[in-house]
Symmetry: C2
Subunit: 196 residues, 2 copies
Amino acid sequence: MSGTARGRRPGAPDTRAAILASARTRFAERGFAGTTIRAVAGDAGVDAALVHHYFGTKDDLFMAAMQLPVDPREVIAPVVAQGPDGAAERFLVAFLGVWEDPELQPTLVAFARGLMDPDASRLLSEGFLPVVLQPVGVALGLERPERRMTLVASQVIGLILLRYVLRVEPLASLSRDELVATYAPTLQRYLTGPLP
Amino acid sequence: MSGTARGRRPGAPDTRAAILASARTRFAERGFAGTTIRAVAGDAGVDAALVHHYFGTKDDLFMAAMQLPVDPREVIAPVVAQGPDGAAERFLVAFLGVWEDPELQPTLVAFARGLMDPDASRLLSEGFLPVVLQPVGVALGLERPERRMTLVASQVIGLILLRYVLRVEPLASLSRDELVATYAPTLQRYLTGPLP
């Protein structure tokens, strides 16, 4: 995870794990907005400065708590840097680069399966969307970024479920190029097209 | 469920329930194609004719095993009857008519949550798609109906998850008209537009 410092003192791994466990519980029970670094530190019996030391910002702590094999913010950053024109196609190429990686895919599929778990689903709706997706919409300068990014999410999550979790054919066998050509017009319209 | 006859003899409800339990197990373990009425009857210790008597065809038995509060084939039939032009908009209106019904929604949401369960997900990918969705693509006379209908499913399932299961805002608060205007162009392109 970016922004994550590794502890070097004896016993540090336990402290890191305790902070991470507290963070997961807090984020799940209170959502992203309702969780503070101070509260997580209190639950773990450590000082807030130590949480910052190990995990960086609250956004970074949240991403660590999600336990994803890649930080989606790092995947999306170069997509956003080039502006809204063609962003959907660039996003799909970057997205497939991660999801089609045989080393990453099993962990990502397990994560997607967990979306239906009540705890994890709150992490998604109250954390992942505001921390990862909404900043993308803002950085791209989109009009009504929340609406547009949730529309993007509604298509991408369905693709993940059918192709990677349920492996529904023929979707599971489409090539990367076919997927990009199929879904880029949908996502680009959600990003920048006319909407009600 | 359409095509379902109710038993009238004493003890019939137990027989119906036993057949349904056998059907659910078979469909989950063997998929739709790998399940026969004869095998379900054998598991339940009854004659195949009795399965037909209670549940009709194998498609009907499958829909009964899904335990949905409405038969999606009945919802989709009038959409299909008017042909492919405008089918996406008509589908969305019919779909929202069911999902926005406060009496039906809790059961539908529970069903959607169950999609991630390994048993139920096989029912979806190996049953729901071939029994409900593929016939729609064929009836509409679509070119490559399997591909097009799985694309439709990939958007509709994502919409269901974000709006009804996770209740992500602002998607959860969009009006029916906004949803139709937002998603109809996507679904119509998947049905009849140019695709790779």
